[in-house]
Structures are given as structure tokens and as C-alpha cells.
């Protein structure tokens, strides 16, 4: 039985006042006090702990345990020490407070009473939404994918003269600039570099393992063959580990010099073989030709870094 908020509060069968408010504990979400407005005098509101409620007799009446004198000693409500539940955000308070019968109802309009139509409208809304989105999905995807895949560029670039390579089995850097045309942008000159090694037969063997190296275009046709006995070997400037630029450096452990990538410290010997560090494959050999005057030409091939196999990107 739920007493109404105007319920009488009785002490020893005498009415002492009416309930005017309740106080809720914000942590436990339980009612901690009822506020009883005194009938006599100025009608002060007293704060009665919930434990003092002995019995809820009816909706109209609750009985308190205390005597009338004891009731008079309950503290007077100090209103400014409380806020209403409208003014404060207490999570889940409304889930915990309830009265029976507990819901406040408003009538559903007659037109809304046909449940099948509601379901129909829900489904139609979803269907039309999907119909709007579906034809957009493919064009949007294609729109965003436009620049992602490009044919390989198999043009030859001059990068310098082999006269520069004075010693065998040592890496020499060749810098070159190449044109780079992208979408709507004017053609830009970008700087790149490759490494060239004048290889002794032993190093040639380590690189080519006695076989000519073929290079393919996107249709799988051979565009160039590096001879297995060609003395000059060119390596792509891109580290096969994660794509940084590596250098030829002498270190404490390798006084002769090695290719060292400063990013993740992959170390390669003059044949491009990994001698230390995390790289998954040897340095990438480029398609290269050296003409009679010593001019070096390469195709600017780039492979995906970080994988065991060479997968051509450019």
C-alpha cells in the first residue's frame, strides 16, 4: 500500500501532521526520510527517518513509532540544504524510485493504434533509406579510389657516371631528380637516390646466384634483363624493411662499411644481403645499364617494403 503524499502521519493514534515531501539518498536511491508538516502551530516541516515509519495503514495514513513528544524533537527541515530531483542529475534514480500503480499514462491517438501500419512504415523507412544509400556506395568508393592504382613507369633515367665508383665492393650514392606528374598538379621535380656497387665476381655471384635477373611490366612481359656477370649493381634507395633511406656507413663492428638504415637499424652487406636487423629481404636490385661512356641509367622501380617477396609498386 502506497500512502498518498497528503497522507496523515499518526503518533500514538493521534494525527501529528501530513507528509509533504520525501528525501531520497542519492547513492542508495532509497527514501531516507519523510517530511511531515505539523498540524499545529506554524506548520513546521519535520524530518522523520524512514525507520520511524512503523506501518503504512492505508493510502491515507501512516503510523510512526515515536510518541508525540519525540516527534516534536525531530529536526526541522532546512529546505536550502536540499535540491529537487529536477535540479540534479543522479544516474538511474528514476529506475529505482517507484510507486504502485507507478506509471503516468496519456492516451494513444486513435490513428496510432494500428500496429501493422507502424511496422510497415518502419520497414519502408529503412528500405527507402537503403535505396538512397546503395547507389551512392559504388560511385563514392570509385571516386575515392581514383588515384590508388597507376600503371608502372618503365622509363629510363640517367643518374650519373660510373667513374665516381672508385673502389670495389663499396656503396656509392647516385642522386637524381625525376619528373613526377600527379593528377591535376603541374609536373614536379623530385629528388631520389640509388646506391651503386662495383661488384667483384664473388659479390656478383652473391647477388645474382649465376642467373640473369629479369624485370617485368604490369602485363608480365620482360622489359629488361640484368646480366649475371655485369660488374655494376644498382640498389633502390628504399630500405626493404619499412621504406626509409639507408646509407653506406662504417661502424665499429663493420669497419669495411655496410649499408645501414637509421630507422630500424637493418644492416646489409655490399651484396645487399641482410646481416643484421629486422629487414625481411635483401636490398632491391634495380634494372640498370651502363653505356660505353660509363653513364648509368636505371628504371625507377620501387617495391613494397616489409614483405619477403618483391611486390612492385612503381
Amino acid at each position: 500500500m502506497q500512502p498518498k503524499l497528503t497522507a496523515k502521519a499518526l503518533c500514538a493514534d493521534k494525527e501529528v501532521g501530513k507528509i509533504s515531501k520525501v528525501i531520497v539518498d542519492p547513492l542508495s536511491h532509497e527514501i531516507s526520510h519523510v517530511i511531515v508538516r505539523e498540524m499545529n502551530g506554524q506548520g513546521v516541516e519535520r524530518q522523520v527517518p524512514i525507520g520511524q515509519v512503523q506501518e503504512v495503514v492505508s493510502e491515507e495514513e501512516i503510523v510512526l513509532r515515536c510518541s508525540r513528544e519525540e516527534f516534536g524533537r525531530f529536526p526541522v527541515l532546512e529546505r536550502d540544504q536540499y535540491v529537487t530531483v529536477k535540479e540534479v542529475e543522479i544516474a538511474h534514480l528514476e529506475d529505482h524510485l517507484h510507486v504502485e500503480p507507478g506509471e503516468i499514462l496519456v492516451p494513444l491517438p486513435r490513428l496510432e493504434q494500428g500496429v501493422p501500419r507502424r511496422t510497415f512504415f518502419t520497414n519502408m523507412t529503412h528500405a527507402i533509406g537503403t535505396l538512397i544509400a546503395l547507389p551512392l556506395a559504388f560511385p563514392v568508393l570509385k571516386y575515392l579510389m581514383k588515384p590508388m592504382f597507376k600503371p608502372y613507369d618503365n622509363a629510363w633515367f640517367s643518374v650519373g657516371n660510373v667513374k665516381k665508383v672508385s673502389k670495389e665492393n663499396i656503396g656509392f650514392q647516385f642522386k637524381f631528380t625525376r619528373g613526377f606528374k600527379e593528377a591535376f598538379m603541374p609536373e614536379q621535380q623530385i629528388e631520389k637516390n640509388i646506391w651503386v656497387v662495383k661488384a667483384t665476381p664473388a659479390v656478383q655471384k652473391a647477388v645474382y646466384e649465376g642467373n640473369d635477373r629479369k624485370f617485368f611490366d604490369d602485363k608480365g612481359e620482360v622489359i629488361w634483363v640484368n646480366k649475371a656477370n655485369s660488374p655494376y649493381i644498382g640498389y633502390s634507395g628504399k630500405c626493404p624493411h619499412l621504406g626509409c633511406g639507408y646509407k653506406w656507413r662504417k661502424t665499429k663492428n663493420f669497419p669495411e662499411g655496410v649499408f645501414l638504415c637509421p630507422c630500424h637499424l637493418s644492416i646489409y652487406d655490399e651484396a645487399g644481403k641482410v646481416i643484421d636487423g629486422p629487414a625481411p629481404r635483401p636490398l632491391d636490385v634495380l634494372p640498370m645499364q651502363v653505356d660505353a661512356g660509363g653513364e648509368v641509367k636505371i628504371i625507377d622501380v620501387e617495391y613494397k617494403a616489409g614483405v619477403n617477396k618483391q611486390i612492385r609498386l612503381l
Binding site: 502506497q2 515531501k21 529536477k86 535540479e87 598538379m185 621504406g243
Partner: protein, 395 residues
């Protein structure tokens, strides 16, 4: 025991005359309307239609179990840093041009020519670092306080998504000046994403807008940095705060209900005071860093690194150092170090509130959690420091 639904209190009518709204109305009634000045009338007009004062009261009157604490300031500070990043970011866009032939020059122009441009750019730069530091602090606090546990699982999950977005901001942001640091961090970062199973190649090409980094990469990173991520962050941060308010603050992890109740106060004023002091402190630190270490660009980006030793931003250094280890070498090792381990760690964090269903929140009674957190922090510290030591060895 009986209890009452708040709606009903109204129905019975007594609350109307006693509630905060009611008190105000009563005052109005007794006061003649022309005693209000014009401003008060406007406020009254808006409030009557929008209920702003109720919203404000609800926002400020959030009970904090166990009372306000400095440890609860991190979330507010993050929101503050984000807002200033938005403001400085918008200001930078007044001059910045996201094209490969102008990005570097326009950034240099901001630094060297535009009045206070160096300061706004440096603030934006250090603000991003501050954001990462605060995210770590915020996550650590929530973890140590056990505040990710039921019923706050969704707050934690959305928080993890926000963590990812903050990292995405860092990653897309430092390509924009188009200097060597920018270029190489992006080259390596995208190569790492390429190792995502199944969609890696597509993802890398999608981000680069082609097989190699160039104008399309810059355009894409720019759009992601200034449109996609801010929208995502603002939306998710809103959801994060909504869910947090819905679940309520967790409060301290020890103390009896009586002790906690005795110390409870509202978000305003004590917690807001602590928050604003923390915000001011962070603001001053970011400003000082911007003054002491203003942003200096390296050479313009090119696929030839010259003498530059590529290195990511400091908060990615531990991952960078991890990938130097030989056990994370080779195709599989690299997948393990760059994808599987960070991915598994994030998945573990996401699953954490569902795995750890013990309701004990006291960190000193959760030895595994304490050890785990310490190990992760020590790991990050050791790897970051060794990356810095390696840097000296390379030079």
C-alpha cells in the same frame, strides 16, 4: 519500505510550489515585470522556452561520490586541450595550403612572416603532445580506479575509440608541414598499415592515394585531420560524456558508503575549480614549451632523406624501437610487432571490462592489474629511452 517516482511528486502537486523552478516563478509573480531590466527579460524569455537554467543546474549539480579530486581533472583537461587545438587549427588554416608545392612554403610563412604564427603553430604542435600525455594519464586513472568496470563498460569502450582518434590526429597532423620529418614518418607509418591482414594493401594505397606518397597523400591526410577526425572526436567525446553522466561517476575505490556520502559534493564548484586550475596549468605548460621550443621545420619533403635520420613523434618512439628488435624482423616478425601485438593489446583493453568482472575496485587489492599497468608503463619507458639512446649512437 515505499518510495515514489519523481513524476508523481509533481502529480500530487506539492513540488510545484516548492521546487527551484517554482520558487523562481513565485518570485516573478510577486515582482512586477517591469522591474526586470532588458537583459533579465531576454534571459527570462529564452529560459521559458529552452529551460536553460534547468539544463545548467543539471550540468553543474552532478554529485561526485566521495567528493572532488585532482585525479578527476584529466578528462576535463582533455576537452580543454581539444577545444584549443580546434581554435589554433582553424587559425592555422587561414594561411596553410595543403598542396605539395605550397604546404612547406605556407608553413614557413606562418612561422616566419605571420605575426604570432610561430606561436600558434608551436602551441598546436605542443598541444598535440599534451593531448597524448593526458590521454595516457586519463586512461591510467580510470584503470587504476577500476572505473571501467560494470556499469561503465561503454564509457571505457568509447574512450578507447577516442584514444585511437587522438593517435590518428598525431599521425595525420605531422605530414601537413611537408618537411622531411613529416614525409618519412608517413612513409614508414603507411608501410606499417600495409601489413594489416587482408585490407592492408588497399588501406595503404587508399591513404597514400597512389603507390607512393605525394599530393594525393597530403590531400587525404589534410581532409582526415581537419574534417573527419574532429567530427569523429567531437561526436564520440559527446557520447563519452553522455554515457559517463548516465552511469554516474565511480568515486573513490575505498571507504564505507557513509564515509563516501559524507564527502560527496557537486561538480560545481569544487571539481570545476580543480579542473580550471588544472587547465590553466596545462595551458601555461604548453605556452612555455611553445616559447622555449618553437616548431622548426626541417628541409622540404623529398624521397631522398639526405642526412636526416627519420624518427616518429616521441609518443610513437617505443613502437619504433620495438620494430628495431630482430625478433620483430622479417615479414612475420614485423606483422607480430607492428600489428598483432598492438592489436591484441587494444583488443585486450576493449575486452577488459568483460573479462574483469570482479567488482573490487581498490587497486591495492587487484595485484594483477597493478602489476600489468606497471609492466606496460615500464615497457613504454624503457623502449622510449632506448630509442633516444640509439639516436645518439647514430649521430
Amino acid at each position: 519500505m515505499w518510495s515514489i517516482k519523481p513524476g508523481l511528486i509533481n502529480k500530487f502537486g506539492f513540488c510545484k510550489s516548492l521546487g527551484w523552478n517554482g520558487e523562481r516563478r513565485m518570485k516573478e509573480d510577486s515582482q512586477s515585470v517591469n522591474q526586470q531590466n532588458a537583459f533579465e527579460k531576454v534571459v527570462e524569455f529564452v529560459d521559458e522556452r529552452v529551460g536553460l537554467k534547468t539544463i545548467q543546474a543539471k550540468m553543474l549539480n552532478e554529485p561526485i561520490p566521495g567528493g572532488s579530486r585532482w585525479a578527476y581533472a584529466f578528462g576535463s583537461v582533455l576537452l580543454f586541450i581539444f577545444i584549443v587545438q580546434v581554435v589554433t587549427g582553424i587559425l592555422l588554416m587561414f594561411y596553410y595550403v595543403p598542396s605539395t608545392d605550397h604546404a612547406y612554403a605556407s608553413t614557413q610563412y606562418i612561422i616566419h612572416e605571420v605575426d604570432y604564427g610561430w606561436f600558434l603553430l608551436s602551441y598546436h604542435f605542443w598541444g598535440s603532445s599534451a593531448m597524448v600525455v593526458m590521454v595516457f594519464a586519463h586512461m591510467s586513472q580510470v584503470f587504476l580506479w577500476g572505473a571501467y568496470k560494470k556499469p561503465r563498460e561503454l564509457v571505457w569502450l568509447v574512450g578507447l575509440a577516442l584514444f585511437g582518434i587522438v593517435m590518428g590526429f598525431g599521425f595525420t597532423g605531422y605530414l601537413l608541414p611537408w618537411d622531411q620529418r613529416a614525409y618519412w614518418a608517413t612513409v614508414v607509418g603507411v608501410e606499417i598499415m600495409d601489413k594489416t591482414p587482408l585490407i592492408g594493401d588497399f588501406l595503404a594505397r587508399f591513404l597514400k592515394g597512389g603507390p607512393t606518397p605525394g599530393q594525393m597523400t597530403l590531400s587525404r591526410f589534410f581532409v582526415i585531420h581537419v574534417m573527419v577526425l574532429p567530427a569523429a572526436l567531437a561526436g564520440l567525446a559527446g557520447l563519452h560524456i553522455f554515457l559517463f553522466r548516465k552511469a554516474g561517476p565511480a568515486g573513490p575505490f575505498r571507504g564505507t558508503p557513509e564515509e563516501i556520502k559524507a564527502k560527496t559534493d557537486y561538480f560545481f564548484p569544487r571539481q570545476i575549480w580543480k579542473d580550471i586550475v588544472a587547465m590553466a596549468t596545462v595551458f601555461l605548460i604548453i605556452c612555455s614549451l611553445a616559447f622555449i621550443e618553437p616548431v622548426v621545420l626541417l628541409e622540404q619533403a623529398t624521397p631522398d632523406p639526405g642526412d636526416y635520420h627519420p624518427e616518429p613523434e616521441w609518443y610513437f618512439l617505443f613502437l619504433f624501437q620495438l620494430l628495431r628488435l630482430k625478433i620483430f624482423g622479417g615479414e612475420f616478425g614485423q606483422f607480430l610487432g607492428a600489428m598483432a601485438i598492438p592489436g591484441a593489446f587494444m583488443a585486450f583493453l576493449a575486452a577488459l571490462p568483460f573479462l574483469d568482472t570482479n567488482s573490487e575496485r581498490n587497486i591495492f587489492k587487484r595485484p594483477l592489474a597493478l602489476i600489468g599497468w606497471t609492466v606496460v608503463m615500464v615497457f613504454i619507458l624503457v623502449f622510449t629511452v632506448s630509442a633516444i639512446i640509439n639516436r645518439e649512437f647514430l649521430d
